[in-house]
Amino acid sequence: MRNPLRIARWSPYVVGAGIGLLSWATFYFMDKALGTSTSFVGAAECAVGLIAPEHVESSDYFLKEYGAKGGGFKPILDWQMALDIALVAGAFLAAWLGRDLQGAAAPSVWVERYGPSRIKRYAVAFAGGFVLLFGARMAGGCTSGHGISGGLQLAVSSWTFFVSMFIAGIAAAWLMFGFASRTNKEAAPHV
């Protein structure tokens, strides 16, 4: 049997079960649920705070997410921020061990529809990231905090998010890519 660390891709069921088990550990050892998007508020407000700290300290939303109970603020470099930074390293390790580091400036599905322009891809990626995080904070979580952690806790908020996200994503994919099928080409294993 090949060393599994050297295999580029694992079964989604194995990975899903692994993330499920990781959730057990975060609940049991850390009293936490997996989540990633709150720290983007911390990072953004850190930057704003360098210029206008009083603006950040009086912001309703910053107080909601980072205000400490007895006054003052919770640390911005906290459990989740550490998790977010380590995510980058963990994925690098997985890609490096599997000899699967991604080099292309633009992904192939994008290039087939919108061409190889790097500027175009980066512009949409920037706008997409903006929209993504705005939506995540409005909904109160993202694919990990709502999708996985909230889903497994059977939370009403999270399943509402999950269903809405899929419906909107399908509509957006239809607008951006159409449903014109390139199935034959995509089914070919050598592509």
């Binding site: 891709r9 694992w10 989604p12 069921y13 990975v15 079960a17 993330i19 959730s23 057990w24 609940f27 936490k32 997996l34 990633t36 998007s37 983007f40 508020v41 953004a44 407000e45 704003v48 950040v56 309703d60 939303y61 003052g72 459990w79 980058v88 390293a89 963990g90 390790l93 997985a94 991604q102 400036a105 992904p107 994008w110 990626a125 997409g128 990231g129 929209v131 993504l132 995080l133 939506g135 904070r137 909904a139 109160g140 993202c142 709502h146 996985i148 889903g151 497994l152 059977l154 009403v156 908020s157 999270s158 809405s164 996200m165 909107a168 509509a171 994919a173 239809w174 951006m176 592509v191």
Partner: protein, 189 residues
């Protein structure tokens, strides 16, 4: 806000360990790839759904089991404000297709070498800043709509969580069987 910037070392080490494992798994699962994420929403690749539903079912069994056994004291359910959850979720879905990653997988994709994910992360920080400014306006209008508090479906329907978890497990496994037999063969690039 800068007086108390850094959490205690134990908390940070826990966060780092969790992030390393999570990032490793996300990449091995293939969900750090733009093609995999976008093709989920085009019904051409169901990796995202398979990964998430498996994580939810496995996670639910352990977390609710530990709750039942008294090994953990509380859940971390997010409050339901249904208009905010639904509209925010919709905005999120659009952003996810434009960027091709979600927040966690964008960080992981950056680690695996996808530069467009890095650009997306900068966009995300700006999006977070914009929401912070927009929050009073949005929450005062939409926050009260469908505000149910921190409820689970077990609370709402007055049923045992195990009934719901069993139903979810059966639904997920049935879906997996159908997808494996009839579903599309995902592209490998």
């Amino acid at each position: 806000m800068f007086e108390n910037m850094i959490a205690e070392p134990r908390v940070l080490i826990y966060g780092i360990l969790t992030g390393l494992v999570f990032g490793f798994l996300l990449h091995k699962g293939g969900v750090t790839r733009y093609n995999v994420i976008v093709n989920q929403f085009r019904f051409k690749d169901h990796t995202v759904l398979k990964t998430m539903l498996t994580a939810i079912v496995v996670g639910a069994i352990g977390v609710w089991g530990m709750m039942q056994a008294g090994l953990i004291e509380e859940l971390h359910v997010k409050g339901a404000a249904l208009a905010m959850n639904a509209i925010g979720g919709g905005i999120f879905g659009v952003g996810m297709v434009m960027l091709g990653y979600c927040p966690g997988t964008a960080l992981a994709a950056l680690g695996s070498g996808s530069r467009d994910a890095g650009v997306g992360i900068v966009g995300m920080v700006f999006g977070a800043a914009a929401y912070t400014e927009a929050y009073p306006w949005i929450s005062s209008r939409l926050g009260p709509i469908g505000n149910l508090g921190k409820v689970t479906f077990a609370d709402l329907l007055h049923v045992s969580p195990w009934l719901l978890i069993a139903g979810l497990a059966v639904a997920a496994v049935s879906l997996f069987v159908v997808l494996e037999r009839l579903g599309p063969r995902p592209r490998t690039d």
